[in-house]
């Protein structure tokens, strides 16, 4: 194994034996460099996704159709900011600073989930994001709550507790619209049509072609394959769609009574690759918005520092 060659074989064997026993790895424990690197990559991508994920939904806060919906959406978007911070702080336990991670996001070096590069064209998109995008995130994050790295697992447990409301509020919006006027029904169906395939892509490429999957599984960073998680999501979601009279845009979709799976048609991975490479409908807009927000907040960060310094100086004066 070329990966492990550089590591102390005795320590590596001990490490793998710990994982085998189902133990959790903590920040000060010995870990292979590759494990640390994979975690930093995965966790920072995850944190960035939470933060960038605020943008498509934030787009609708001022236009929410009622005060109730506006309060809910504000609370949800605030949660996503919190999720980003939980995971950034988890990533910092691996020895990278948050400013470094954010710099990587803002310079385009780091990736975030491709789903957030699609536009939110109508109010129905907000419902469908909660239902499908948060729904897919829950499937993934429930698996990650059992990941082998302690700080990541604990952040996921915290996040999972909050995500359920995100999905429910989204499904509620979809339910109301699906039962509404023909125009509302058409609007929510259109949103499902646009978000369905990108939601399935959220789980990442098939494991056969996913370069990191095998190692992540062996080290129990991931406990299930991308394909298994994707299938679980489809199985959960189709009955929910049927219950409110919506369909998904897949002519190949059929139930296999033997495997009890909803089998779905081929995913267009070229679209996924294009979006990841920066050519999705909103990549540039999202990054421009993040950079602007960061730059616009600079004076607040500076003011806080100056204020703290002044307070400290005053305290020293009093003490003298």
């Amino acid at each position: 194994m070329t990966v492990a060659a550089a590591e102390d074989p005795v320590k590596l064997a001990e490490f793998e034996a710990r994982l085998e026993r189902g133990e959790t790895i903590e920040p000060k424990d010995w870990m292979p460099e590759k494990y640390r690197k994979q975690l930093v990559r995965m966790m920072s991508q995850h944190a960035h996704s939470e933060v960038v994920g605020m943008l498509p939904e934030g787009n609708w806060i001022t236009r929410a159709p009622s005060l109730r919906r506006k309060m809910v959406l504000l609370a949800k978007v605030q949660d996503e900011g919190g999720h980003g911070l939980y995971i950034y702080c988890g990533t910092e336990t691996l020895g990278v600073g948050r400013e470094e991670l954010i710099e990587q996001l803002l310079t385009g070096k780091a990736k975030y989930s491709s789903i957030f590069n699609y536009p939110t064209l109508t109010w129905a998109d907000i419902g469908v994001i909660g239902w499908l995008v948060d729904g897919a995130a829950i499937v993934n994050q429930t698996m990650l709550a059992k990941t082998s790295y302690g700080p990541y697992a604990r952040a996921m447990i915290r996040i999972c507790k909050e995500e359920n409301f995100h999905k429910r509020q989204g499904y509620e919006i979809c339910t109301v619209m699906a039962k509404g006027t023909p125009a509302q029904r058409a609007m929510v169906q259109d949103a499902v049509n646009r978000w369905w395939w990108p939601s399935l892509m959220m789980f990442g490429p098939s494991d056969a072609t996913s370069p990191n999957s095998a190692e992540l599984m062996r080290w129990r960073v991931k406990r299930e394959t991308n394909d298994a998680l994707r299938q679980r999501f489809v199985n959960l979601t189709i009955p929910q769609a049927q219950a409110i009279g919506l369909s998904v845009p897949d002519p190949d979709l059929r139930y296999n009574a033997e495997t009890e799976n909803w089998e779905f048609g081929p995913i267009d991975w070229s679209e996924f690759q294009a979006v990841i490479a920066g050519n999705g409908p909103c990549n540039r807009e999202r990054m421009a918005a993040r950079r602007k927000a960061h730059a616009d907040g600079a004076w607040v960060r500076e003011a806080a520092e100056v204020h703290a310094e002044k307070q400290a100086a005053r305290a020293r004066e009093h003490a003298a």
Binding site: G82, R98, E103, R158, A304, A308
Partner: protein, 96 residues
């Protein structure tokens, strides 16, 4: 991009409900204790049961290291006489 300094790290402990212990929740970056408290409130006490918060500068925490686990904690598991099961009492006597 301007040069960014990073505010210091504070570890956050939350007490979820009366009589519960304070438990480690995560960390925040903040310029001072007051700021850390505000950030901790926004991030770790957005909903539910938190009744008390502690914020502690990371530098103030001394943690045991995994290598010391043996000498530190092993003595705790080889003294059976620290446990009630070590002692015999006459049959039929109710001790508690």
């Amino acid at each position: 991009m301007s040069t960014e300094t990073q505010w210091p790290l504070w570890e956050v402990f939350t007490q979820e409900g009366d009589a519960a212990p304070h438990e480690h929740a995560g960390s925040v970056h903040a310029v001072d204790a007051e700021h850390a408290m505000q950030n901790a409130r926004d991030i770790y006490a957005r909903r539910g049961k938190v009744v008390s918060l502690w914020v502690v500068p990371l530098d103030a925490i001394t943690a045991s290291s995994p290598g010391d686990a043996g000498p530190l904690f092993d003595p705790g598991s080889d003294k059976a006489y620290r446990h009630p099961q070590f002692y015999k009492s006459p049959r039929g006597v109710k001790i508690f």
